[in-house]
């Protein structure tokens, strides 16, 4: 018979479920996708084991060695050119796309996602292009398209550089000109220390 004697164990089960752990309380609120770390009373010991962590560390170290080897093979220092892109503030310009030319030849182009824009806006720097260049003079051109608060922009920046035996490092910079209330674009050459 389905009577009180049957009911009570079930009641106990539900009470335990309610008063159980804060992890379950957390679970209830996770459906709301909380924005930051919520402390819980009963954090269980994470499943991460030294075996897995050691494996991660050794794969990451191997990946580092592989990248260094790849760079030495493909882009030796005497020929190397690396071009980065950064945004300082970026309030007057919402970047859509960038095209990069070396000696009038397109070498890189990028259409930006919101995630990438956000990363740039927060101070991240994108490695846009790595390649090889012979020593001598070269013309670097970058074309930026995007939207400002008042208008759309399609602007360019050019720089003639002299490639020496040292690696050439350039930074395409999108800057806010507070005086003109509009974005400015420039190419900065990083000199090796």
């Amino acid at each position: 018979m389905f009577n009180q004697s049957v009911k009570l164990p079930l009641l106990g089960f539900i009470l335990a479920l309610c008063l159980g752990t804060a992890a379950q309380a957390q679970d209830a609120v996770t459906t709301a996708a909380p924005s930051s770390t919520a402390p819980t009373e009963s954090v269980q010991k994470p499943a991460v084991t030294p075996e897995v962590e050691n494996l991660k560390v050794s794969v990451l170290n191997l990946n580092r060695d592989l990248l260094i080897l790849e760079e030495e093979l493909l882009y030796p220092a005497s020929n190397q050119v690396a071009i980065y892109l950064s945004m300082d503030l970026g309030q007057f310009f919402n970047l859509d796309a960038v095209k990069l030319e070396i000696n009038n030849k397109l070498v890189a182009s990028e259409l930006y996602t919101d995630k990438q824009i956000n990363a740039l806006f927060r101070g991240g720097v994108q490695r846009l292009y790595v390649g090889n260049l012979k020593t001598g003079e070269h013309e670097i051109s970058a074309y930026f398209t995007g939207r400002g608060p008042q208008q759309d922009y399609k602007r360019g920046a050019k720089l003639v550089v002299n490639k020496t035996q040292a690696p050439l490092v350039l930074e395409l910079k999108i800057l806010d000109s507070t005086a003109q209330l509009q974005p400015t674009f420039e190419i900065k050459e990083w000199k090796a220390e």
Binding site: L15, A22, D27, A33, V48, L62, L69
Partner: protein
């Protein structure tokens, strides 16, 4: 002066300058307070690149960028930030031991600014907390200074309360004390945890005080926090209701259950409890209402399953055996279908399917909501979300969200979430290494081509072919120079004259000899001599006319020869320079081959660990489903018995 997070964000110059980490407001404040002046640009591009990846939650390239920088000359110009970032990234990628080492190293240096030390102690404490090292965590938290970031201090105080709960040291934790701690958004969690702790200890009176405080808590925050807060309030009302139920305070219990939002996740248990509280007061009609609502809900919820049997039980109490029988029979049918569904889920769930699920592209929270709307309840749909989940956020973020309520408890467990994150990280690393394999093969071919080219050039040099050519051309050139000098010195016009003139001049020379012989023999040669002298004069005059132009042509040939010799010299020098000064290919070959072998070996290890982990996950999921199947079977058996009992009773009545 400590900067608040809001202040910090309002100052984008600082953000762009030393874009510290979103994972840590403390780390941001480190920058604002540190000895370094804020910069208007990154001082080291590699640091910026690492942040670029980090902000997109691409932890592998972010960590790798820092590792590559370390292997070279490190990151300059960003003070303590790269070390804190490295620690944070290690945490984000589930390398807790590594993160601990980094934070410990940082703390061993007493010259670090207090705010950097505070951040390191805080994260070290969180690590120890996550490892259930309660004493270690308490010690680390106690070393954080009072000037620590306000927001993270609140989180830390909340964790300290949890530590006391863990040690069952509840006495000092009064409601007043909780309020004094300025826990901000964590206050609701702390009140709930303390209420639940007292309830588990059997101190229902104190438990209710905490739950009541939680339900009376005023809320001022964003909509997301508001949803969390309402859910916690629902939980508190439900827990208080069941507490009253145990104390047989049925009216008070119903009062609590009635305050739970009907659309909230807690409402199932509240509706069930409401019904039982009414039954206990013999208010059977009142019990039917909440149970009928529950009965309409998905059978995935345990409370809805129980309602299937509770409702006919109430009809029986109302002396309505016909209605009770109808409901029991309906329950039999529904439970049988549900058992069939769970069995299907268990049969179709393989470790391969789990791996596909775990490695699938993350979805945004907006996409997730849309998908959840479309899904039928009961569909085993689990999704990886991209709402910033990582190891730091493990405690509050469901990595896999599912519509399957059966797996809800399992998916909410930290160790299950950790296992999923671990597996996802391993799958990413597996892909990373697999992508290297064809590239390394191509690089091997590239090196071989380079080597072949170099050998060819070395061979050319060894055979002195270019040197011999240069010597031979130099000899030719020297001969030409001597010839020109002689011609110039002797004004030898005929030497540069055209072929016909030279031929005629030679004939004149031969005739002169003949005349000389004739003259010696006594013959009269005067006329011949005169004619010959005129011819010779004409020929010399003609040759003299063309001499400057012919000499210039000869000198041009000399210039051409000089240029050719110079080219050969340059080529020789270039080849010699390449062969002498070029990178030694053998060490590169050796490194490449060694790393190829390492990639193969580590990939094998990864595959093995992934298989084991995936199978472990599958077993956990299956065990959870099996437990649900068992409970459904139990309910089905009870339904079968109830139906049999009611038929039996009816037959007995008929027989009477």
């Amino acid at each position: 002066m400590m900067h608040s997070l809001a202040e910090w964000f309002s100052n984008k110059r600082t953000l762009a300058a030393v874009p510290a980490l979103c994972l840590s407001a403390a780390m941001l404040s480190v920058n604002a307070q540190g000895a370094e002046k804020p910069k208007s640009e990154v001082a080291d591009l590699r640091y910026g690149v690492s942040l670029y990846h980090y902000y997109q939650q691409d932890y592998i390239p972010a960590i790798t960028e820092l590792l590559v920088a370390d292997a070279r000359d490190g990151i300059r110009g960003h003070g303590n930030n790269p070390e804190l970032i490295a620690g944070g990234l290690s945490l984000a990628f589930g390398m807790q031991n590594h993160a601990e080492q980094l934070f410990t190293q940082l703390l061993q240096d007493n010259s670090r600014p207090q705010n950097v030390r505070d951040a390191a102690w805080f994260y070290l404490g969180k690590l120890q907390y996550a490892r259930a090292d309660w004493a270690g965590a308490a010690s680390s938290f106690s070393r954080v200074s009072e000037t620590f970031n306000e927001n993270l201090s609140a989180e830390m105080h909340s964790l300290q309360i949890n530590l006391q709960i863990k040690q069952n040291d509840l006495t000092p934790l009064s409601i007043k004390k909780v309020e004094q701690n300025k826990l901000a958004q964590w206050e609701a969690f702390a009140l709930y945890n303390l209420g639940a702790a007292h309830a588990r200890n059997g101190d229902m009176k104190t438990a209710k005080l905490f739950f009541n405080e939680l339900t009376d808590l005023s809320f001022d925050g964003n909509s997301q926090s508001h949803a969390e807060y309402l859910t916690l309030q629902d939980k508190a009302h439900t827990a208080t209701g069941y507490t009253y139920l145990q104390e047989k305070s049925y009216l008070a219990a119903i009062q609590e259950f009635r305050q739970v939002r009907l659309e909230g996740i807690e409402s199932n248990q509240a509706l069930l409890g409401y019904g039982w509280a009414a039954i206990a007061q013999e208010k059977y009609v009142e019990a039917i209402k909440p149970w009928q609502v529950l009965q309409q809900r998905s059978l995935l919820f345990p409370a809805a399953q129980e309602a299937l049997l509770a409702l006919p039980f109430a009809y029986e109490k109302l002396n309505a055996p016909g209605d009770a029988l109808r409901e029991y029979e309906a329950a039999e049918k529904l439970l049988s279908q549900e058992i069939h569904l769970v069995r299907d889920m268990r049969l179709t769930l393989t470790s391969g399917e789990l791996l596909t699920l775990v490695s699938s592209k993350p979805v945004s929270s907006t996409e997730l909501k849309e998908l959840e709307k479309k899904n039928e309840p009961g569909t085993l749909t689990a999704l990886i979300t991209d709402d910033g989940q990582n190891w730091l956020k493990l405690s509050d973020t469901s990595v896999i969200k599912t519509r399957s309520i059966y797996l809800r408890e399992l998916f909410a467990q930290n160790n299950f979430q950790s296992a999923v994150l671990d597996l996802r990280d391993l799958l990413k690393l597996q892909k990373l290494l697999a992508d290297w394999q064809p590239k390394l093969k191509a690089y091997d071919e590239l090196l071989q081509q380079k080597q072949a080219w170099r050998q060819q050039k070395e061979q050319q040099l060894a055979q002195h072919s270019l040197a011999q050519k240069q010597i031979s051309m130099q000899q030719e050139r020297d001969a030409l120079v001597a010839r020109i000098a002689t011609i110039k010195a002797n004004n030898d016009y005929i030497a540069l004259a055209d072929a016909q003139t030279r031929k005629r001049f030679a004939a004149v020379e031969r005739s002169t000899n003949t005349i000389a012989r004739m003259k010696a023999e006594g013959q009269d040669t005067l006329e011949y001599e005169e004619r010959l002298w005129v011819s010779r004069g004409i020929l010399l005059w003609r040759a003299a006319q063309d001499f400057p132009a012919n000499l210039a042509t000869l000198e041009d040939s000399l210039a051409t020869m000089d240029s050719a010799i110079a080219k050969i010299k340059t080529s020789r020098a270039k080849i010699e320079s390449i062969t002498a000064g070029a990178q030694d290919l053998q060490p590169l070959f050796a490194r490449l081959q060694q790393q190829q072998a390492q990639v193969d070996s580590q990939l094998k290890d990864l595959n093995g660990v992934i298989d084991v982990r995936a199978e472990q996950l599958r077993r956990k999921v299956d065990a959870q489903l099996a437990a649900h199947e068992q409970r459904l079977n139990r309910y089905l058996a009870q339904s079968n018995l109830a139906v049999a009992r009611l038929y039996d009773t009816a037959l007995r009545k008929q027989a009477k």
